[in-house]
């Protein structure tokens, strides 16, 4: 394409209709959450399900016992969480524990959506990609969630730590205590260094603060360059963005992996998987891509983004398709090795998730929503080019990965007492409404189209 195209100024306007819809989502979420809390409270020990649930809980207790027995047979000091130690601690009511769990799980999930916004931009700059010049403002808006997620996570950690994170209990590290746990003591440096095990988890908290701090710092730097480019059109901003992006990608490579160990894997303290960093990242990444695609498709439907045509939509669709398969690959790599090696410390993770409701049906729903459906629905070229199809598949992927995170976090905290009811659904709606409000409000604050992006002409001529 030799001809240069004129680019019209565009600005996103958060219409009162959209805003009130989001507030309705927020309100409905709060309402469902409150109903869910009351249902969980009145249910007491045994929530919603009643008799059937009791049976399952019994079954899960039996499974835990069997596992402990099998582990003991191997002459290992490792104890299964929740089997023995939990009884000695002051017990939090199950409904409160459910609130804590769902808060933590939703925050990790939505923090990922925010950080993937920045990651997407960084990848585009580092790869010097041209096609994406017209859509980069949407992930930029998603990145505004990072500081909110960071503050919520740090505050939340101090609220929920004893209920969600088994390793925060001091007596696990006390040799004189009956709860002394050799395996966790061995890992204590990763949480408590340089302080004494069982005290304040300095290393863990510092990591959390540093990660969010660095992510937010790079986000502000890249955002500043991107917006300054709109005003003076200097190509230097693009080079600066590329430099920041490259450094950020190196940092993110390490920090996303370690964040996955900290925020997700350390919940199942005894268990470990070398795939977990990749697994959490893959889930975040494909879900973030689905979110970007969904917002772009919706904006396009509403008449915005004239610089985006079906070729760009096709590329975004390919991203969602490809990384759904990538996620499946990672999922299978983790599952298959654990399944085949059949080592009790490792299999306990999947035993909990395969045999106890509601995790067992989520375990399979996970694969259907995140692999089978996107794979079959997005396989055809035409379906990736159709906005209507992407608006169906992207919410499926987002819901699927929300369930994926549910299954990563909840079984390790709640064991047999976990539930997926109005409480969890309401909390997810609250977070979704807040995330979308922050994203869309930020989107109104800068031009929707990067007029002076040096890649814009290439993007306009993009043809596949």
């Amino acid at each position: 394409m030799n001809a240069t195209h004129e680019i019209a100024d565009e600005k996103y306007e958060l219409k009162s209709g959209t805003r009130s819809k989001l507030f309705m989502l927020l309100g409905a979420g709060i309402l469902l959450f409150i109903i869910g809390v009351f249902m969980a409270m009145s249910g007491g020990e045994h929530h919603e399900g009643g008799e059937a649930e009791k049976g399952k809980e019994h079954a899960s207790a039996q499974i835990s016992k069997d596992l402990v027995a099998s582990v003991d047979q191997h002459g290992d000091a490792v104890k299964t969480e929740g089997a023995k130690t939990e009884e000695h601690h002051a017990k939090t009511a199950p409904w409160l524990k459910r609130i804590y769990t769902t808060l933590w799980m939703n925050n990790v999930f939505f923090a990922g959506l925010g950080i993937i916004g920045l990651f997407f931009i960084a990848i585009q700059y580092a790869a010097q990609a041209g096609w994406s010049a017209g859509v980069k403002r949407i992930p930029l808006a998603m990145g505004h969630w990072i500081p909110f997620a960071g503050i919520i996570m740090i505050v939340l950690f101090f609220v929920v730590k004893h209920d969600v994170f088994h390793w925060t209990h001091a007596d696990l590290y006390d040799k004189a205590s009956p709860d002394f746990d050799k395996a966790i003591t061995g890992k204590s440096g990763f949480f408590f260094w340089p302080l004494a095990p069982g005290g304040f988890p300095l290393f863990f908290v510092v990591r959390m603060v540093v990660f969010f701090g660095l992510w937010y710092l790079f986000f502000t730097w890249i955002k500043k360059e991107m917006l300054a480019e709109d005003l003076d059109g200097s190509i230097q901003h693009w080079y600066n963005s590329r430099k920041f992006s490259t450094i950020f990608l190196i940092i993110f490579g390490y920090s996303s992996s370690i964040a996955a160990w900290d925020w997700v894997m350390s919940i199942d303290t005894h268990w470990f998987s070398t795939m977990m960093g990749w697994y959490v990242f893959a889930s975040w990444w494909v879900c973030g891509l689905a979110m970007i695609t969904f917002i772009v498709a919706s904006l396009k439907n509403a008449g915005y983004l004239k610089v985006v045509n079906e070729n760009h939509i096709h590329d975004l669709g390919k991203f969602v398709f490809a990384f759904s398969v990538f996620w499946t690959y990672i999922w299978f790599s983790q599952f298959m090795l654990i399944f085949y090696a059949n080592i009790p410390e490792e299999t306990v993770y999947f035993v909990q998730r395969r045999l106890v409701a509601p995790y067992s049906w989520i375990f399979f729903a996970n694969l259907i929503l995140n692999f089978v459906l996107p794979f079959l629905l997005l396989m055809m070229r035409d379906s990736k080019r159709q906005i209507a199809m992407l608006q169906v598949v992207c919410p499926i992927v987002i819901l699927g990965h929300w369930l994926d995170y549910y299954n990563m976090v909840t079984p390790g905290v709640m064991h047999g007492e976990g539930g997926l009811g109005l409480l969890e659904i309401g909390m997810a709606m609250i977070f979704m409404a807040a995330f979308l409000l922050v994203t869309l409000t930020s989107l109104t604050k800068f031009p929707l189209v990067a007029k002076h992006d040096p890649m814009m002409q290439e993007s306009l001529g993009h043809h596949i």
């Binding site: 030799n2 299978f332 599952f335 298959m336 399944f339 085949y340 059949n342 396989m379 055809m380 070229r381 043809h463």
Partner: protein
């Protein structure tokens, strides 16, 4: 070579933008274009030539499905029924260990199937000598071949149409 010769008019174009316009104009005049050869991919040429999308992906999917079903059923039958063996304390037929083989076989069959289908559809059999309308299509010229036998328009008219649409040369070629 067969006795009945096929006669072609070959238009040579220097510029791909001229070529793109010419293809549209010539087809509008009712002249059928046999094929256009270019030294590099020209975006939009296949749309101008009126080519529909290839159905090769559908063939690939069907070959892939064949691979999936064949690999899974073979493994289940062999390890589950024909010669049951206990490996690693697992069931005789447990699906997870079969997945890598199934995946590889799916890829293998869809790749081989696609290549073979493509060769058959494009008539690229062994010992087939490619027709060279103009050797410069491998260097710096775009070459448009028009089959005179398939067109009702006379040779001189087509020559005139090619000339007025920006062909730098018009040659005759017979095979």
């Amino acid at each position: 070579m067969t006795a009945a010769k096929e006669n072609f008019l070959v238009g040579i174009f220097d510029d791909e933008d001229v070529l793109l316009e010419a293809v549209g104009n010539i087809r509008d005049k009712g002249v059928k274009i046999k094929e256009v050869y270019s030294p590099f991919p020209v975006h939009g040429l296949d749309e101008e030539l009126g080519y529909t999308r290839s159905r090769l992906p559908i063939a690939a999917f069907l070959f892939g499905m064949t691979g999936t079903i064949l690999a899974l059923s073979t493994q289940i039958w062999m390890l589950g029924f024909d010669w049951p063996m206990i490996i690693g304390g697992k069931n005789n037929y447990s699906i997870p260990p079969f997945i890598p083989v199934t995946f590889e076989f799916t890829v293998l069959l869809s790749a081989f199937g696609m290549v073979i289908t493509f060769l058959i559809v494009s008539d690229m059999k062994p010992y087939k000598w490619p027709r060279q309308y103009d050797i410069r299509s491998t260097d710096d010229k775009h070459v448009m071949a028009i089959d005179l036998g398939a067109n009702k328009t006379s040779k001189e008219e087509i020559r005139a149409i090619l000339k007025e649409n920006g062909a730098t040369e018009v040659n005759e070629k017979s095979f």
